[in-house]
Every structure is written in structure tokens, then in C-alpha cells.
Amino acid sequence: MFIRIFTLLLLLWSMPSWSSAAILQQAMFKNGAKLIVEEDHSAPVAMVQIWLKVGGRDEVPGKTGLAHVFEHMMFKGSAKLAAGEYSRRIAAIGGNDNAFTSTDFTAYFETVPAAKVEEVLGLEAERFAHLALRDEDFQKEIRVIMEERRMRTDDDPNSHMFEELSAVSLRLHPYRNPVIGWMQDLKKLTIEDVRAFYQKHYIPGNVTVVVVGDVDFLQMKKRVGETFARMKAHPVEARFNPKEPEPLGAKRIEVKLPAQLPMLAITIPLPVWEPGHNDKEVAALAVATQVLAGGRSARLQRELVDEQRRAFAASAGYDPFGMGLDLWYLYGMLGPKQTTADFEQAVWALLADMATKPEPKAVLAAAKRNMIASEVFAQDSLYLRAKEIGRMEVSGIGAEHRDAWLKAIAAVTAADLQAAVGRWFTKDRSTTGILTPEVK
């Protein structure tokens, strides 16, 4: 912990030499299960996260939403624990039933008093190895998930529009499908689908146990040795990670939904970080996105919202730790007197400006400093620390590279940024989506 903070602080000043690494202690077990521990004894609590290399991308056509359905079924009882009993035991320890599913991973997590970590690991291993998967539970849970979809997507015009836009932006890559699943697929899923998914994917070779907090690595190693490491090994298949074909020109969709105001969003498939291969370009894309959308001086807010009055809110986002690619996005919310055409034109003018003119030194330095400072602020939360480790691990980057990423950020020059923007932020690579309010 302290060495990690120290490295981060040195990075804030873009230190020239590089020596110390974070204290991540790792253990690999024979059956493929992995353990990563970051000890922090500042408070008697710990965060336990079970990460799985299983997500939406592992679904077959017609079965979208299955990985997420499965996450729900993990709370429905196992051989030794009746439905709800897991939740009751975790609640008694002070935890909550928490989990998240993405296209790339599924993770289950608990913050508990440090003394309870071994018990939590036992409970997690029990349900992982002996899940009940009863049809009656599935029938109820699939209805719950349809309500979740209605709430999060169907009744929210902005997220509904982003779902459509993602589907049109990509042809092969699984980020084109919503993690929650298409309603048409959800209606057809069966308990047999869920059981088959379990057999195939919930195997020790897909598990990474992450513990951050007031624990002892050797004790954790012993405990995981008694639990996850005891499970029978299964061969791990390569994950679905197709190479997205190069875009052949700009794409465009219009989504008509009941809404009050229009929105315009642009997506571009961008490369993700492969340590040692594309550090310079991917870090430059991340810094460019920060200049556009991060901090007080964000150019989208400053120029398009405040000065040109082309939207009342605008932002952009990029995740360099995706698998295969990331679907970069930019959006603007339009007020009653603002038009999508004006906003769109202003966006491309801004991106062209970034490609042709170097960012001033102070702007570049501030962007980099803020990105690294965010990392220091994140060290304040056990949840965020464990999540960062798990995320880098399951996407194939490797948690041990996390400080190398910050080093790559620190090395970005104004010329790198211009080159990356010029190469990637082009109309021909983009898909534009317009939410048009429709009064029914």
C-alpha cells in the first residue's frame, strides 16, 4: 500500500527513473484458480471479490443476457444453502448481496470485518461449486430481470438509444449486445441454458480471488487452497474475441422514442491497451479523452456548451482496459433551441482542431496530473482498489501492469495526442446516433 502510494506520488511529477512496484501478492493453484492479495492494515476490514472470466461475450447467439441471468441465480441457493440462506448468512456477517456483470467479466463482492474473510471465502466456494439451479427459482428470477431491463433500458430513452447505437456501431465484437440481454432472448431462456452455462464457465480456471484489506497473504493462500483450489480442474477454452472488421465509412441511425429533448451521440471503435505493444497510442487516446471531457477545463464543456452554446451538457468516455476494443463515445444533450446538426458540426470541428494544433503545455500537464491523482484518490476505497485489480486481471492485461499504465500516461506528448486523434477520431470510423423525441 505505502509503496504503491509512493510510486503514484512520484508519477504525479513524471519521475524519470522507475524503481518500485505495487505490493500485489499472487498465488496460482494447480486447478487454475488464482489469488491476488493487497494487504492494507489501516482498518480492520477487508474487501473480498471473486472475479470470473465469464460475461456477455461468452453467450451464444439467441442467448444474450445469460451471463447476467446467471449472476442472479448465484443468489438462489446451493447444495448446502437453501435459496436465500446465502443472502442471510452474508447479511449476518454484515455484507450485502453484491455482484456485477459486464461483457468481459462477472464479479461477486463483499466488504466484511477482517475476521470474517475466511467464512466469506467458504460461502463463495460453496455456491460456486454446488449451485442448486432450480427451475422454480429461475422462473421467478427471469421476471425480475425483465423488470430490471424495463427499468434500466426500455423506459430510459437515453440508455435505450445507446443500446441501439452500440448494436449498429459494431458488426462482430460482442460489445454490440446489451449485457442485460435483448428482451426477445430473455423470453426464450430456460433453466437448461443456465445449467449448461454453469457447467461450461463456472470452472476454477476462470476464477480470480481478489482480497484487499486487513488480511495476511499466507493465511489467504491457505484458505483459498482449502476452498477454490480443491475444485476439479476443467480445460479452459479461449474466449470469443473476434477482430472487428475495419469500418468502411460513416454510419448513422435515428432512434425515435418518447422523450422531451434530443440527444446526439457518436461512437468509434478504438484499440485497447496491450502492455508493451501500443502504450503510446492508447495512453494518448486516454489523455485526449481527458482533455475533451475531464476536469474543469474539459474542452467539450468549455467550448461546445459554454462558449458556442451547442448543447446544455456534453461528455465523452473511453475504457482502455476493454477486451479486443473499446467503443469510445461522445454525446451532447440538446436544449429546446439547440439542434443536433449544429452540435455535430461543432464536435467535428473540435476534433479536427485537436488533430492539427498541439494542446498547450499546461493543459496537457493538467490532464495527466488529474488522471494520476484520480488513481491516488481511488486508493482511498477498498472497493475501487479491488475492482481495479480484478478488472485488469480478467481482461488479460494483468494486475501487475497497473503502474505501467500510469507511466504510459505520464509519457504522452502533445504530438502523440495529435497523432492519435488524427488517426482515430475520424468521421469514417464513426457511427452517429440521434435520439428524436416522439410524442405518442
Binding site: 500500500m1 502510494i5 506520488l9 504525479l12 492494507d40 489501516s42 482498518a43 480492520p44 476490514v45 435459496a83 436465500g84 443472502s87 447479511a91 449476518a92 454484515g94 455484507g95 450485502n96 466488504t111 466484511v112 470485518p113 477482517a114 475476521a115 422462473q139 421467478k140 427471469i142 421476471r143 425480475v144 425483465m146 423488470e147 430490471e148 424495463r150 427499468m151 426500455d154 423506459d155 430510459d156 430513452p157 437515453n158 422531451q260 429533448l261 476536469g295 474543469r296 477545463s297 468549455r302 456548451v305 459554454d306 452554446r309 446544455f312 444533450m333 436544449g335 429546446p336 499546461a362 493538467a366 496530473r369 488529474n370 491523482a373 484518490f377 482511498d380 476505497s381 477498498l382 472497493y383
Partner: protein, 447 residues
Amino acid sequence: MKRYLIIPMLLLFSYVHTASAVPAIQQAEMKNGLRVLLMEAHNVPMVSMQLSVVAGSRFEAAETAGTASLLATMLADHSARHDHRALAALLDADAIHLGAAASRDDLKLSLTVLKEALQPGLDAFAELLLMPGWNNERFAIFQQDSISGARKALEEPGAQAATAASRLLFGEHPYGHRSSGTEASLAAIKLKDLKKLYHTQVKPAGAVLAVSGDITMDELLPMLKHRLAGWHGAPKHRLMDIAVAPTVMGKTADISLPTSQTLVQLLRQGPARSDGAFFPAFVLNHILGGGGFGSRLMEEVREKRGLVYGVYSYFIPLAAPGSFVITLQTKADQAAEAEAVVRKVMGEMASGKVTRKQLQASKDNLSGSFAQRMDSNRERVGLISMIGLYHLPLDYLSKWTQKVDAVTLNQVKQQAARFLKPEQWNRVRVGAKLNIEASAVSAAKAH
């Protein structure tokens, strides 16, 4: 010379109930009346703080709702010394996170910085607080964009329900409008309304600066003294100068929105922050619908019947009683059934059907999850700020699990009888086809 009164917290560790020993909250009071509360945390070289002043949305007129929020936005944007561009450059250069927001009772100015940037961070913080710039062009931009934002929010069932719920529960009372304002109320605001709120309410007496992070009181106080020396006075309206709103029961409001789900909210007034039975009421809510999967509502509506993704209950304890809310969303043709199940659970609990086992399960979960509530400096600052603003005892956090543990079954039953009688609640619904459901409610009640 100013003098600081430092009250060291004694006896904090004399009763350590759980493993999660809570660091002491240290208090100092500045001569101008500002209370400074600090919890030290030296594991990460950063400091978070939040200043709460008694200048929330309840001090604005309903016709100009959103005034406090716009004031917060303006204060955090620029000062008389630095325009918004200069300020942005200054803050970004040192990765200083500085923001402001208004809620019902208070207006908050918050700062998160690396320890090494604390000096420039505090410089900016004090300058924004004490030297507002009142730039007309910036005001016009914020006003226009907040009007667009209010229009956009009409797409959200939750925002629509919140506006209707405030009006229904509190009417003309100062809690009767939301801090975010509406298109019409935001359009009616003038820069002079912001100035007036600032000059009458943004004062050090009754205000609280809550701090958590890598700093000691001895380091902090001289830095504050130097910067806040010119700040004096008391707000015209004090935090506790507020009447309890008249009770309403059995009222309904339906809002039409073309969604596939219906949002159903049941509402009444809950306890105030100072309520003598706060902990029993808090535990009662955890059993009812505040505790996620372990709660009665989640068990009956989701786990047993699969009717919803989520059903929750919460109350908002303010200077006076605020709302007590039960909320769920489900597809339109299931809304009546879900509501009937909720009312049945409420009725059962109100008539005393709460078991010792349920109480123990809630206590265990609350005590065990206490550490999670304090997972970061920013979360701790939120808690410390609440303790300071509402004058809760400084050992509130260290005694918290003990207080939860001391709640008896009888106390919970008393609070259930006090708060959960279904006929005392009101209802807001947002969705399509709402009148079809009205008949279905009676049908669902019949069997």
C-alpha cells in the same frame, strides 16, 4: 487574536463493541462560530472536506425553486478574483476537486485534494466562499442549462415522482419543492435572488466544516484561521427555525408518462433527525425495506413473487420531519398487485408482526456493514458533516453499533405502529394507463 476551543474526545475507545474501531472525531470551534470536525486518516496522502452552511433550498420561495442550487453552482464556478477560466486552470493544474450542491437544509461546498495541494486547494475554497464573482454571463448560462436539464428530467419517472411527492406531502411548507427546481421556477430566478440568499444565509455561525484525511487539527486550524478571518455573522434563519408540516394522509397523485412500467411510491412524513426514537425507527426501516435482500418488502415482492427488480424504503431525516418513502417499479399490469403486497406487509408490521429473529438479522447486518459506510474519506466526510450540522453527539459513530444493538423488539413494534399504518400513507404513481389500475387495486384487495 482568535482563539480556538479544542475539545478532545475522551473515552472514545472505552466501549469498543465491534472489530471496527472508529477513529475519534475531534472538534474545534472558531471564533466566528464555525465548527470544525476532523477525523484523521493517514493511510492515503489526501484530504477531503465539506462545508455545510444553513442555506438549503428550504430558504428559497417555491416560485424561485432552484435558487440555492444555482447559488452553489455560481459559488463553485468563479470568484471576484478569478474568472471561471482562470479558476479552472488553477484547479486542474493541481488536481483540486472542488464542488458545491444544495439540498433541503444546507448548501455544501466540498474539496478533495492531494495532501501536497492542500494549500492552493484551501486558497481556492476560501476565495470562492468569501468573494463571489456574480458574473452575469455565467449566471445566464447556468440558468439556461438548468432549465434544459429540468426539461430533460421530465423523461425520468423517479424525478417526476419526487416533484409530485414533495408537493403532495409538504404543500406550501419549505420542504414542498425540490432543490433542483422546475423549468418555470428556474426561469423566474434573478441573480439578485442568489445574492440575497448568500447575504442572509451563508454565514459561519451554525455552519460546519467536516474534514477527513491525512492531517491533524494542529496543522489544519492555522490554515483555516488565516483564510477565513474575514468571515463573520449568523444566518437570518437558523437551522432549527422550521415548523413541522401539517400531516397529510390518504392523498394520491397520478402522473402520466409513456413508460412500460408504473412507478409506485407510498409516502408519509418520517422522523426528524432529532427524533427521540431515531434508532428504533432506523432499525424498523431496515427490516421493512432498507436492508436490501434481507428486508420484508424485498422478500415478499421480489423473492417470493418476482414482481420487481427492486423495492425499497427510506426516510430522509432533516431539521423537521422529512419524507418516508416506499418505492417500486413494475410493468403496468402488475403494479396493483405489487402495491397490495406492500400494503399487506405494512399492515402486518403495524399490528405487531415483527419477530425477534428479523430484528436480530437486521442488527447483525447493520453492525457488520458499518465499516462499508465508512469506506472512504469522502463517505466519512458526509457522515461527520451530518453529525455537525444536526448537533449529534461527537461519539455518534463510535456508539453507532451499540445504539443499533440496544434497540428492543418492543421499540420496533412501537415505531411500526407509529409509522406503518397503511391508511396514513399517500401515493404517487407515474406511468401509462393509470386509471385501469385503480379498479384492479380493489380487486387485488378483495381476495
